[in-house]
């Protein structure tokens, strides 16, 4: 970890103006990933601007259209256990609670959750080639051990996955990210927030320099009746997903009127396929239909030696999770598979 100057921003504008300095400036929120990366000497900064003391954006408030705004500086745990979120967006609660550990969820902020970097072994080892860490140096994962790597949206430049659970639910819920920057405020649809690796895997998302996430808006439709989050991993808790699925269903009797399915642990961003959701609309909520939707979702998936299993696993996980969404009351702690 290099030494740095530490500043406290009093408000968002103050933080943004600090970011304009001729130096490597980074915003410091929960710190759970940034400090980790700096200690490994994978990230450096000249100035850390602590945005934790900003008094705005620390609440969860109802929006006039029936949706909900999650303040960017609200902690993950407080979000998961907020009564409005629990009541209207239980899928989001579930997904957040499947991530990291209780301690980390008490520290990490909603905005920071979106900005986590990959957990690829090779990204985390400063001494091996990695295009994400050092553009142009090569991808060691492709020739290495790929168990945790992506199967969708990969390129020869990068096969890393995005590690968040919360974001998988946010993708499924069609959230909108509110940001503020030197050029003012703007909204980014969740699907457009994170990027696929392409030939610029070092760029994780579409935030512009100096921009700060101030909030995350959830549309009114919360799928609070039929939802499920399933996380499959190498131990029952406190591990990143090999495959995770967020499902929200809207049913009329046994007929699906709306469906959302997002995958985590399989790509450089939460993975959603509109065609699969369209396919389900009007169909019966059955294992067979979910299986067909799953086939559509993983179309084009490419497995490597050690992660090819993820393709079949993802399909089965989708089917199971959609079935679990029919009985959300029987879900187990830690987003483990239930009957």
């Amino acid at each position: 970890m290099n030494n740095f100057n530490y500043l406290r921003a009093s408000d968002v504008q103050d933080a943004i103006s600090q970011s304009a300095r001729e130096a490597d400036v980074k915003y410091l929120a929960g710190g759970t990933n940034l400090i980790d990366l700096m200690k490994y000497n994978l990230t450096r900064a000249d100035i850390l601007v602590d945005i934790n003391r900003i008094s705005d954006h620390r609440e969860i408030t109802e929006l006039p259209d029936g949706g909900l705004r999650l303040g960017a500086f609200v902690k993950n745990a407080a979000t998961a256990w907020n009564h409005l979120v629990e009541e209207h967006y239980p899928l989001l609660s579930k997904a957040i609670l499947a991530g990291a550990s209780a301690q980390i969820r008490n520290m990490a902020t909603n905005g920071g959750n979106l900005l986590q970097r990959t957990r690829c072994y090779y990204f985390y080892d400063a001494n091996v080639p990695c295009n994400k860490r050092e553009p142009g140096s090569g991808c060691s994962a492709i020739t290495g051990y790929q168990r945790i790597m992506a199967i969708l949206g990969t390129t020869e430049h990068c096969i890393a996955v995005f590690p968040s659970d919360m974001c998988v639910a946010l993708a499924a819920l069609d959230a909108v990210v509110q940001v503020e920057g030197p050029q003012g405020m703007r909204s980014i649809h969740f699907a457009d927030f994170h990027r696929l690796p392409g030939d610029t895997p070092h760029i994780d998302n579409n935030l512009k320099p100096g921009e700060i996430i101030t909030g995350i808006d959830l549309p009114a439709k919360g799928f609070s009746k039929n939802y499920s989050y399933l996380k499959l991993r190498d131990r029952n808790s406190y591990a990143f997903a090999l495959v995770s699925v967020a499902t929200g269903l809207e049913l009329d009797g046994e007929t699906i009127t709306d469906a959302r399915i997002a995958l985590g642990g399989v790509a450089h961003k939460p993975w959603r396929v509109a065609a699969a959701e369209d396919f389900l609309k009007g169909k019966t909520a059955s294992g067979e239909n979910f299986r067909q939707a799953a086939e559509i979702i993983v179309q084009g998936a490419v497995g490597y030696e050690h992660n090819a299993f993820k393709i079949e696993l993802a399909k089965r996980a989708i089917v199971r999770n959609c079935m679990m969404a029919l009985h959300p009351e029987s879900q187990l702690p830690g987003a483990q598979p239930s009957a």
């Binding site: 970890m1 290099n2 030494n3 740095f4 100057n5 530490y6 500043l7 406290r8 921003a9 009093s10 408000d11 103050d14 103006s17 600090q18 300095r21 130096a23 490597d24 410091l28 929960g30 710190g31 759970t32 400090i35 980790d36 200690k39 490994y40 000249d46 100035i47 850390l48 602590d50 934790n52 745990a77 256990w81 990291a100 550990s101 209780a102 301690q103 980390i104 008490n106 520290m107 029952n236 808790s237 406190y238 187990l332 702690p333 830690g334």
Partner: protein, 173 residues
């Protein structure tokens, strides 16, 4: 509106000046003079001499450094001391009150909920935080919400037994 900051000169450590951080640790005021790069964990251990809080990974992967910050359990390795200026911190050294062990501490001894003892401060602080949260109902939920604290000796069942005993005592009070 910006708080004061020293002149920024990249790559020159000597120009960085320690900052004063005022904490309340175990109900006593503690003033630290630390550079911004000092984690709360190292601040407590190396600067305040409170070595009860343990470093098992320094990267948020084991839970050994768990302390309570304003009543909530956090990992002291993933936060900077300066970020916590003004906070109220409880470490393992502050859990017993006037020499009387906390019920969890007693239960840990009774249930043999540790072997080497290295994860124990974190387990106990985490369990207190978990009980404060009041979210875990069943044993399975307790296990899930305690999963951020690794125990390499394999005292897991004894740890959960100890916590469940105290949790049930609280429920009956």
């Amino acid at each position: 509106m910006t708080t004061d900051y020293p002149d920024m000169q990249a790559e020159t450590v000597e120009n960085f000046t320690p900052q004063k951080v005022t904490l309340t640790v175990n109900q006593k005021p503690v003033e630290l003079e630390v550079l911004p790069w000092v984690s709360l964990l190292d601040g407590l251990r190396d600067y305040a001499g409170l070595t009860g809080t343990k470093k098992g990974c320094d990267h948020g992967q084991c839970g050994a450094c768990t302390v309570l910050c304003d009543g909530e359990r956090i990992l002291s390795c993933l936060t900077l001391a300066v970020m916590n200026d003004g906070s109220e911190i409880t470490t393992i050294e502050g859990i017993a009150q006037e020499g009387e062990l906390h019920p969890l501490q007693k239960a840990f001894i009774e249930h043999d909920a540790f072997q080497c003892g290295y994860c124990t401060p974190g387990q106990i602080c985490s369990a207190i935080g978990m009980l404060n949260e009041g979210k875990a109902k069943s044993r399975e939920e307790v296990k899930e919400l305690m999963s951020g604290n690794l125990c390499r000796c394999g005292a897991n069942t004894n740890i959960i037994d100890a916590i469940m005993e105290v949790k049930n005592q609280l429920a009956h009070e």
